[in-house]
Amino acid sequence: MSRDDRQKLLELRDLRTYFDVEGRTAKAVDGVSFDIYTNEVFGLVGESGSGKSVTSLSIMRLIPNPPGRIESGEIRFRGQNLLDLSFAEMRKIRGNDISMIFQEPMTALNPVFTIGYQLREGIRYHSKCSKAEAEDRATEMLDLVGIPDPRRRLKDYPHQFSGGMRQRAMIAMALSMEPGLLIADEPTTALDVTIQAQILELMLKVREKTGDASILLITHDLAVVAETCDRVAVMYGGKIQEISEVKALFKTPLHPYTQGLLSSLPRPDKQKKTRLDTIPGIVPSIMSMPPGCKFAARCPIAEPRCERDEPELREITPGRFCRCHLVDGKGGGRAW
């Protein structure tokens, strides 16, 4: 299926989300644009402070205000700009058309209500069904996410669940209304590898069963992206640096940052290197971003103009975008 046959589910256009911190403005998300098609898993990778989580919260319009605000941009979901909606209309979208799961399964559930209550609550709010129907649906969802004895476990409180089970409950909650888009914000970061494998597998499996939601997977782990995503966007310094099909990205990363990131990962499957390749320097502070390319200071191939002028996000080859002055698409990408 070529990508033009597919419908755009979510289109981000030049999204800017700023935070006012002690009289200064932190441009956490600074002009982010990308599209998510129906029925795809889209990865958004970046290091801490790159703005990936803020991007996802902006889509849900869950930016805490103050200090944060969505400055400008468009978030088109099925053609409708979410930023134009009233709060009441937005609420109909949240949990129903777009739902979200969070990083910390320990704190993301309300400790004083039962799992069942929290599951039913969303179901009843959106579908206006009876309590018994909601209960049945909740049981069904818990069963689907692989929690044994779901009807009894509905009566449990979150603290009686382990971390992995809580994340399962969160997934059940998020998918109970068969949303078009599931945003998963670092869903496995707090979990162990074996549990991470379970949860990732579950997410993909359950969305197929509930109605083929697209998934926006936010993570810092390139390996997770490689295993689960169809397409990926790499963020750095509040901006998208590269968008690509996953396979292409891992085969020939274009942006120097992506290249550096990939080569700095230890690869047990490859011949052992004595030393890892590194990206020198430190991640720039969100409070004081350089004017030019955000990566220029750490970039091995930076030229003087990189520090001065911000490069545009250009389509290098069809479907591949890169924000770099020095990538021309004719083999500019260095295969590693």
Binding site: F87, F102, P111, V112, G122
Partner: protein, 357 residues
């Protein structure tokens, strides 16, 4: 969890004995005990207070002193006397029966010669009346105010009401009652609306007997108003700020974001999810409030001349009425200990996470 509560309840008698023994010990060791008291009374009667130095032992016959000593168990060692008082050692005067606190025998008051237990139980409901109304009135004021302050954090309303709350914090309850009495019970500003202290008017019981129910209720409320404001003032600043901060903390919690992400409306998120959590520390305050109720009552009952347990305690100390002092102490300690456990029970009830261990 059950073993936790069993442990707590087992600790009550231990705590109780430690405290009462401490006070018993202090009072037995102190000068000016009952013998001195009786001696002075006799001197007052005999010499009309004329030049009788307290040091002269001649005025009280040795036999009488011995009798008094025997009566007050001063001839026993302190631990022995304490055990008799507690009812864990036989009392010779009562035919070697065990008769003490454990059996509900608190002795007789020096001042009124009534059984202490009767005096206390007749006064206790009055303290409870003010304490409970005061506590619930505090809730009625603090919870809505705290919520509104939290939702309008750093607004004009928040800052302005904070000023008032802090003023309330810096004035103790009995002082506030005194100010109110000055303003509304005297002719100072021409608003002589409320009575100057007292629990009820003089003829209340007669009117009640006559069936003047409305008059009685009105009179009672009339007398209740100023002390209750005093009670509320005593705790409302702490509680309002606790409510506000607790709600603010919870509104920033992750689960609130989850609730919004489910598409719930703001009211539901704030008033169901966040509020339910932020009530936990307030509910736990109930035990402390019960303890404070009594501490506050010493001052407020003195100020407003309400014949409750606090005033009884005060009068008994002034009159060196040891059986009553000990009786009030027993009550105060028990109330406090029960209050602590009550707090734990409430906490276990409102917070499903709590598993005492």
């Amino acid at each position: 969890m059950i073993s936790y509560f069993v442990r707590r309840i087992l600790l009550i008698p231990i705590t109780f004995m430690c405290i009462t023994f401490l006070v018993y010990f202090v009072m037995r060791s102190a000068p000016g005990g009952p013998i001195e008291q009786a001696r002075q009374q006799i001197m007052m009667q005999d010499g009309g207070g004329g030049g009788g130095a307290a040091g002269e032992d001649l005025e009280l016959p040795q036999a009488a002193i011995d009798q008094l000593k025997r009566y007050y168990k001063l001839d026993k060692s302190k631990p022995h006397g304490y055990l008799i008082w507690l009812g864990l050692a036989p009392d010779e005067d009562k035919g070697d029966r065990f008769s003490g606190i454990v059996q509900g025998d608190f002795g007789r008051s020096y001042l009124w010669s009534d059984p202490v237990i009767e005096t206390i139980t007749s006064r206790f409901p009055i303290s409870i009346y003010f304490g409970l109304i005061g506590y619930f009135a505090t809730w009625l004021v603090c919870v809505p105010l705290g919520i509104k302050k939290a939702l309008n954090h750093r607004s004009m309303f928040d800052t302005g009401s904070s000023m008032a709350v802090f003023l309330g914090y810096s004035i103790p309850g009995f002082v506030a009652a005194m100010i109110l009495m000055l303003l509304f019970s005297t002719e100072l500003i021409g608003c002589d609306w409320f009575p100057l202290g007292g629990f009820r008017s003089e003829g209340w019981d007669d009117m009640w007997a006559k069936g003047e129910v409305w008059w009685c209720i009105k009179d009672q409320l009339h007398h209740t108003f100023i002390p209750i404001i005093g009670y509320v003032m005593g705790g409302f600043a702490t509680m309002t700020i606790l409510m506000k901060n607790s709600l603010l903390d919870n509104l920033g919690a992750d689960y609130v974001r989850t609730a919004f992400a489910k598409g719930l409306p703001e009211n539901r998120v704030v008033f169901v999810h966040a509020l339910r959590n932020s009530m936990i520390p307030l509910c736990v305050s109930i035990g402390h409030a019960i303890g404070l109720m009594l501490a506050g009552s010493f001052l407020l009952e003195k100020t407003c001349n309400i014949p409750g347990l606090g005033l009884l305690g005060f009068e008994s100390i002034v009159g060196r009425d040891y059986p009553v002092i000990m009786g009030v102490l027993v009550f105060a300690v028990l109330i406090k200990l029960v209050g602590n456990i009550l707090s734990d029970i409430v906490l276990a009830f409102v917070d499903p996470r709590v598993r005492f261990s």
